[in-house]
Assembly symmetry: C2
Homo-oligomer: 387 residues x 2
């Protein structure tokens, strides 16, 4: 199995990109990644793209061929593959690209993610997103994602004494981080009162507990580690890749306060990397709702189960804390173009490990982790990176 | 790079499966493949599934997690990945599963494909399928898939003297083959007059030149070749895997009478396998329309460019001919549940190489090929198999 490294990364501005189509954004991110890697487009020999629902957002499937086309690589007949695992589609694209390089089938590969969500009404977008849950056993009965995560939050509060103020602190922290990230959707500081006073979506989750609807794209360039320094001085090595599934429907799970898919994907990634959770210096985790970040830092072993809310309130996960989490602003404040999110996480970790994260730089970050979840936890991907 | 072999294969009956949901069919095919491989479900360590448009056909994305769930493997947290390349989604799932085993990341892997198309009206289905073409530059202007392939057919007729009777012979042959295949959607012999008298869809293509709307699922089990004989006596080795892209839109192509993606994917597969086209004993090719089979046998190098119509009329590609093509009945008569098709092709080739294809058995078949196309040729996959 060949070791794989990132030699280039690019990410568009996230947000309501009225100026740009899916095609425009994927080309923009791809060009940034290629220029960052100091390669020519013609050197790429495979493309992988994460996209959740081109079919329902822009009535376009066959996204692999589309992005090869946008990249000018269809004339070279470069193989291009779309993968989908709801909001974990980006992380899944990264993993498939790793498999392609690790296997020896490909040498210089782009892993990208893209979603164009704002061309439809918010109701249509919510319905498209609901297709990540169990249509027959959840959506049909009126469950939405805020409702599903609200149930997890309620039980976490009851079982571990987690408070809504602690959850709100996740949003406050991630908005603060986003203010230092040029690509973030929101450059707006908020406080706990703002979260509490924002409209209630599904008790206990308010609007400011929820990640937004976003447009955006991101891309990274992967090569075999043994060749990485031929291209750039500061390649980032991918030392662990874990993927796991769980039941599609929340009600079938063993426990509502743990995402077992995260636990298993994390375990696989830590084992492959040969590291312990406490060695991680910076992490991007899947905070589709504030409670999700609390579950993630517990399930990834950064804090004990039940201590995620307190750890957040104590500032452990803030920039300057013991383990800064979501320095990009996370899904909450950097934005969540679903297919792009997993790749944006890898982009952020690459910047951090290269020491290029500007005002939000984590001092001496050597080991980074990215955690991407599909739906309410039916899929999870964990990747670990080192300098 | 580890060599990969098929140790089990299963396929549901194709057709209008009013009795079965997507979940039912994927479970049915999966169980068949697992039983055929003589393994227990718990031994599987990764799943890959091709599905074109769960989002639009059954309002369900996150198909990877869904199939892990249906297979009872979500409780073991087995990683499960959905891939999409329109009608080539099945072939793409096979390739991703090969990468997973070749890389060493996984050992016992299922590659599956599924589509449930008949739960929506035929108009909705046609619109969902149109999402495989270029929405902005083809569909928006009224192009449909029969229209796109009709343009290829017209130019092929003009340039090479191909006749509609020759195209019709593709349908006649494939319906004849399907009559010997228990899983086929149509068990109905037709003749050239039937094709000519069937309603015109897009000149020169009649209804009986077109593959149908179908439900179905198929699955194969892959392992490293070095371990294959530990499981079964007659593993099938995958000796070549090629994938290529082309422009999404037909009007951007170099030539309308060649699918360059097929040519490039074929070349990659032949090179890896170290064989010449003339050595192939049996092939499943992508006959979404009758003209598509003619293009395929030319682009794969089985006959000279322009000679596909004549070769078909001469019986070269019929059972008993020099190179039997689409012994399953092909997309035309076995049916075309789009995500399942690429895996059904691998299933048919596995049966042929194992000598288990019953009345449609090709004598002494040793080398088989499967060819799967997305859209009008934006993606193509070619796989080569040996005993």
């Amino acid at each position: 199995m060949r070791s794989v490294s990132i030699i280039g990364a690019g990410c568009t501005k996230f947000g309501e990109r009225w100026d740009s189509s899916l095609r425009d954004m994927i080309a923009e991110a791809g060009v940034m990644a290629i220029e960052d890697a100091e390669i020519a487009g013609e050197q790429i020999d495979a493309l992988f793209v994460g996209n959740m629902s081109g079919g329902r957002f822009i009535e376009q499937e066959h996204i692999g061929a589309l992005i090869a086309d946008c990249a000018g690589l269809s004339r070279l007949h470069v193989p291009s593959t779309r993968v989908e695992a709801a909001c974990a589609s980006g992380g899944l694209a990264l993993r498939q690209a790793i498999l392609a390089v690790a296997s020896g089938y490909n040498d210089i590969v782009i892993a990208a993610g893209v979603e164009k969500m704002t061309d439809v009404s918010s109701g249509t977008a919510a319905d498209a997103l609901a297709a990540a849950a169990d249509r027959e056993w959840e959506c049909f009965f009126g469950a939405t994602f805020p409702a599903l995560y609200a149930m997890m939050a309620k039980l976490h509060m009851r079982r571990y004494g987690t408070t809504h103020d602690q959850m709100a602190q996740v949003a406050v922290k991630n908005h603060h981080h986003a203010c230092m990230n040029p690509i973030a959707q929101y450059h707006m500081e908020i406080n706990i009162d703002d979260v509490n006073r924002s409209p209630l979506v599904a008790d206990p989750l308010h609007v400011l507990d929820c990640s937004p609807i976003s447009d955006g794209a991101a891309a990274v360039v992967l090569v075999p580690t043994e060749r990485a320094r031929h291209f750039v001085d500061t390649p980032i090595k991918i030392v662990g890749s874990g993927q796991a599934s769980d039941t599609l429907a929340l009600h079938d799970r063993r426990d509502l306060t743990t995402l077992d898919a995260t636990v298993h994907a994390g375990r696989a990634a830590y084992t492959q990397a040969g590291i312990e959770p406490r060695q991680v210096d910076v992490a991007e985790v899947h905070d589709c709702f504030t409670i999700a970040e609390i579950l993630a830092i517990e399930d990834l072993g950064f804090v004990e189960k039940g201590q995620g809310g307190k750890a957040t309130a104590d500032g452990i996960t803030a920039l300057g804390g013991r383990l800064p989490v979501n320095t990009s602003g996370g899904l909450k404040a950097c934005g969540h173009p679903v297919g792009a999110t997993g790749i944006k996480q890898a982009y952020e970790i690459a910047l951090q490990l290269r020491g290029e994260a500007g005002k939000r730089q984590v001092d001496e970050a050597e080991i980074g982790l990215a955690h991407n979840v599909g739906g309410s936890g039916g899929t999870a991907l964990v990747h670990i990176f080192t300098r």
